[in-house]
C-alpha cells in the first residue's frame, strides 16, 4: 500500500483546512500531492523529465500519478458505503418512528357527513391524524433534515467523516486535493445524493461498477472519493 502514503501524510492534520475556502485548500494541498507524485513515480521516472522546466515536469508527474494512484487507492466498496449510510440513518429511524407512534396515538375518529343520497346525509366514521400529531411529524422531519445536513453536509464536508464513516473508518476527500470537501460542497453532495436516489436508484448503485466507486451525480460532481483510513 505504498501508494496510500499521501493519505497518511494527510491524516496528520486532517482539520487544518476544515473551514477554509476551496482556493485555500487547493493551495495548501498542492504539496502533498506532488510528494505523492515523486514517491509513486520515483523508480519509473524518465531522465528526460528532469531536464524539462519545473512547472512542466510537475504537471506531467501529477497527471501520471493521478492515473497510477487512482486504480490502487483503498476505495470503499459499495457495500461498505451502504453500511456507513445505514449507521447514519439510525437516528432518523428512531426520531421518525417516535414521531409516527405519537401521531398514531393521537388519531381522532369522528362521524362526518361525506355526501347526500336522496335527501339523507351519508355519514362516515373517519379517522384523522390530529393537528398535534401532524405538528409533531412535521417537526420531526425538520429535525431529521437538520441532522442530515449537519452530519453528511457539514460534518462530512469539513472533517471527511459522517458518523457512520467515523465508526467504520472511512474518509471522504476531494480526489485532486486529497483534502475534505468543505461545508458547501458537502451540502451540494447531500442534495445530489437525494437526486441519485430519485433517478430509480441508478445513481446510488453506480459505485457497484464504477472504477473509483463514485455515485453517479453526488460524488462525480463534487469530485469526491471515499477511502479506507
Amino acid at each position: 500500500m505504498c501508494q496510500a502514503c499521501p493519505m497518511t501524510t494527510d491524516e496528520q492534520e486532517p482539520l487544518e483546512n476544515a473551514n477554509g475556502t476551496n482556493e485555500a485548500s487547493e493551495d495548501a494541498v498542492a504539496e502533498p500531492v506532488e510528494d505523492a507524485a515523486e514517491q509513486a513515480a520515483g523508480p519509473n521516472e524518465d531522465p528526460i523529465d528532469e531536464g524539462q522546466g519545473e512547472s512542466n515536469s510537475a504537471a506531467a508527474t501529477q497527471t501520471a500519478t493521478k492515473k497510477q494512484v487512482s486504480s490502487s487507492l483503498p476505495y470503499v466498496s459499495w457495500g461498505g458505503r451502504v453500511l456507513a449510510y445505514l449507521i447514519d440513518v439510525v437516528p432518523v429511524l428512531i426520531v421518525g418512528s417516535i414521531a409516527n407512534l405519537i401521531a398514531r396515538a393521537t388519531e381522532t375518529t369522528s362521524l362526518e357527513v361525506i355526501g347526500r343520497n336522496g335527501g339523507q346525509d351519508i355519514t362516515a366514521e373517519v379517522t384523522r391524524t390530529s393537528a398535534a400529531g401532524i405538528a409533531i411529524e412535521v417537526l420531526a422531519v425538520i429535525a431529521i433534515l437538520l441532522y442530515w445536513f449537519w452530519n453528511k453536509g457539514y460534518r462530512e464536508g469539513t472533517t471527511g467523516k459522517s458518523i457512520g464513516k467515523q465508526v467504520l473508518g472511512f474518509t471522504t476527500v476531494d480526489e485532486t486535493t486529497r483534502r475534505s470537501l468543505g461545508a458547501k460542497n458537502g451540502c451540494i453532495r447531500v442534495l445530489l445524493l437525494f437526486v441519485d436516489f430519485f433517478i430509480c436508484y441508478i445513481g446510488v448503485l453506480w459505485p457497484l461498477w464504477d472504477v473509483k466507486k463514485q455515485t453517479f451525480l453526488s460524488d462525480r460532481f463534487t469530485n469526491a472519493i471515499v477511502l479506507r483510513d
Binding site: 362516515a124 366514521e125 373517519v126 379517522t127 384523522r128 411529524e137 422531519v141 445530489l192 433517478i199 453517479f216
Partner: protein, 161 residues
C-alpha cells in the same frame, strides 16, 4: 461527452438532471408538508342511521377521507414559478443551477430568457416529463443538449456559468 461539437460548452445531461433534481427537492418537500397540513387525509367506514331514535349501522365499503390537494399543488407551482420562472428568467440561474454553476440563456443571443419565457419553459418541462420522460432524456443525444419540448420551443440552452 466532450466530442468537440459546437455544443461542448452546453451542460451535459447528468448535470442538467442534477440541477433540475435539486430544484424539485424543495417542491416535493413543500408538497408533502402542505398536503399533511391542508390535505387532511383520513380514512373511515360509511355509517348509515336507521330506526327511531336513529342508531348507527356500519355498511360495506371503506371510504377514503377527502383529500384536498388544491393548496399543495398551488404552493408547488408557486415555488417552481418563482425559482424556475422568475429567478432563472431574470438571472439565468435557478437555485440548483446556482449551486452547480450553470446558467440558462437564449441559444442565439446569449441573453437571459426573462421571467415570462422562463415560466413557459417550466410549463413545457412538465410536458417533457409527461411524455414518458423522453423529453428530458433528449439532451443525452441531442447535439445542442436541449430538451425536446421546453428548450427547443423557447430557444434556450444551458451553459456553464
Amino acid at each position: 461527452m466532450n466530442s468537440g461539437t459546437s455544443a461542448s460548452d452546453n451542460a451535459p445531461w447528468p448535470w442538467r438532471m442534477a440541477t433540475t433534481g435539486i430544484d424539485y427537492l424543495p417542491v416535493f418537500f413543500v408538497f408533502w408538508l402542505s398536503s399533511m397540513i391542508f390535505g387532511r387525509p383520513g380514512q373511515g367506514m360509511v355509517v348509515e342511521h336507521y330506526g327511531d331514535p336513529p342508531r348507527p349501522y356500519y355498511v360495506a365499503g371503506e371510504v377514503a377521507g377527502s383529500v384536498n390537494l388544491l393548496i399543495p399543488i398551488v404552493l408547488a407551482s408557486i415555488i417552481c414559478l418563482v425559482n424556475k420562472g422568475w429567478l432563472e428568467g431574470t438571472t439565468g440561474q435557478s437555485v440548483g443551477k446556482m449551486l452547480l454553476g450553470y446558467r440558462t440563456q437564449d441559444m442565439n443571443t446569449g441573453e437571459v430568457l426573462g421571467p415570462a419565457r422562463a415560466s413557459i419553459r417550466w410549463i413545457l418541462l412538465n410536458i417533457d416529463i409527461a411524455i414518458c420522460l423522453v423529453g428530458i432524456l433528449w439532451p443525452i443525444w441531442d447535439l445542442k443538449r436541449q430538451t425536446l419540448v421546453s428548450d427547443r420551443l423557447t430557444q434556450s440552452v444551458v451553459v456553464k456559468s
